[in-house]
């Protein structure tokens, strides 16, 4: 899919919000589904069906709440906030199993480096504090800035940065095997 510009997205947002134009909203969904679903897939430790269900609920809630959306906030931040709250709501009723993520047989069969990295990363992320994981995922997989991620997680910016730094430090140890040989 061709990358979209902020101006285009703003136009679609206006059309979806003021005119309740579903086609404009569909374009917004298409533009943002990758990041929202990627973050949810990682938060749910690779449970694709669950992540997609949460993502679908996120977009439907966003559509329903769109008339009340204030333009002073970033649309992507608002969307990720809804997605994160959806995830937390799910977690409240069905907590994730503790421990490392388990690979599905289909995933194990595909033993490419990319799949190995994904598995190792999921295992490593499962060992972090939930807020460290969430901070890393929103900054990298969600493509949010630190301040946006802090807003999504409902944390002060300094706290978000602390979680991010601690999470990165732990990941460096847990993923040491992936460090290139020429790096100290």
């Amino acid at each position: 899919m061709a990358p979209t510009t902020p101006v285009q997205e703003h136009e679609w947002l206006i059309q979806a919000q003021r005119d309740r134009n579903p086609q404009a909203f569909a374009k917004l969904v298409a533009a943002h589904q990758g990041r929202v679903r990627a973050v949810l897939r990682k938060l749910t430790r690779g449970q694709q069906a669950l992540a997609d269900e949460l993502a679908q609920d996120t977009f439907i809630k966003a559509w329903q709440a769109l008339p009340g959306f204030r333009q002073d906030a970033q649309w992507s931040t608002w969307l990720h906030r809804i997605a994160y709250l959806e995830f937390l709501q799910h977690l409240r009723h069905r907590p994730m199993a503790t421990g490392a993520a388990e690979a599905s047989p289909a995933t194990e069969a595909a033993a490419s480096p990319a799949h190995e990295l994904r598995l190792d990363l999921e295992k490593a992320l499962a060992q972090l504090h939930p807020l460290e994981t969430a901070a890393i995922l929103h900054c990298y997989h969600g493509g949010l800035s630190h301040s946006e991620a802090a807003e999504v997680l409902g944390l002060p910016l300094g706290t978000l940065k602390s979680h991010l730094a601690r999470g990165r430090s732990k990941l460096q140890q847990l993923l040491a095997d992936w460090r290139p040989a020429d790096q100290p």
């Binding site: 990041r35 809630k61 997989h141």
Partner: protein, 143 residues
């Protein structure tokens, strides 16, 4: 997709030794995002867009507003206080009935009837509260 390291101008960049982790994370992010972008998902969302809101997982099948929950909670507290205040009179009426159980009119004393009705209401309210639970009712609204 904007695949740059998520550093803002206000935060220092990571040291060169740390860059491999950025590269790793961004590579995984890109792979995951690419595998998560498909037209079928957009179609599925659009198909459900105007459908009535699904009940939240594990929640009752009817929507409960936060104010309704708090109203019921407040009512429960008031009703419990009233029950505590009326308990001595109800106990007295019950003891009076127990002394002469053949006189069924003892069961119709207002003190006893009122207490029993209050107790039933409190029990029903407690069941509703237990079923509903305290949830976030304004998810999208306050985001």
């Amino acid at each position: 997709m904007n695949q740059t390291a998520p550093h803002t101008a206000s935060t220092p960049a990571q040291s060169p030794q740390d860059e491999w982790l950025d590269t790793l994370l961004l590579h995984d992010a890109q792979q995951t995002q690419e595998s998560c972008s498909d037209a079928d998902f957009v179609s599925a969302v659009m198909a459900d867009l105007d459908a009535p809101a699904k009940p939240a997982r594990g929640r009752p099948a009817y929507p409960v507003a936060a104010w309704a929950y708090r109203l019921l909670l407040g009512f429960e507290v008031l009703a419990l206080a009233a029950l505590c205040l009326s308990a001595p009179a109800a106990l007295k009426a019950w003891l009076s009935f127990a002394q002469s159980p053949l006189d069924l009119s003892g069961l119709l004393k207002p003190d006893l009837l009122g207490f029993m009705a209050g107790l039933t209401l409190v029990a029903l309210g407690a069941v509703e509260l237990a079923k509903t639970g305290q949830g976030d009712f304004s998810l999208a609204g306050d985001a």
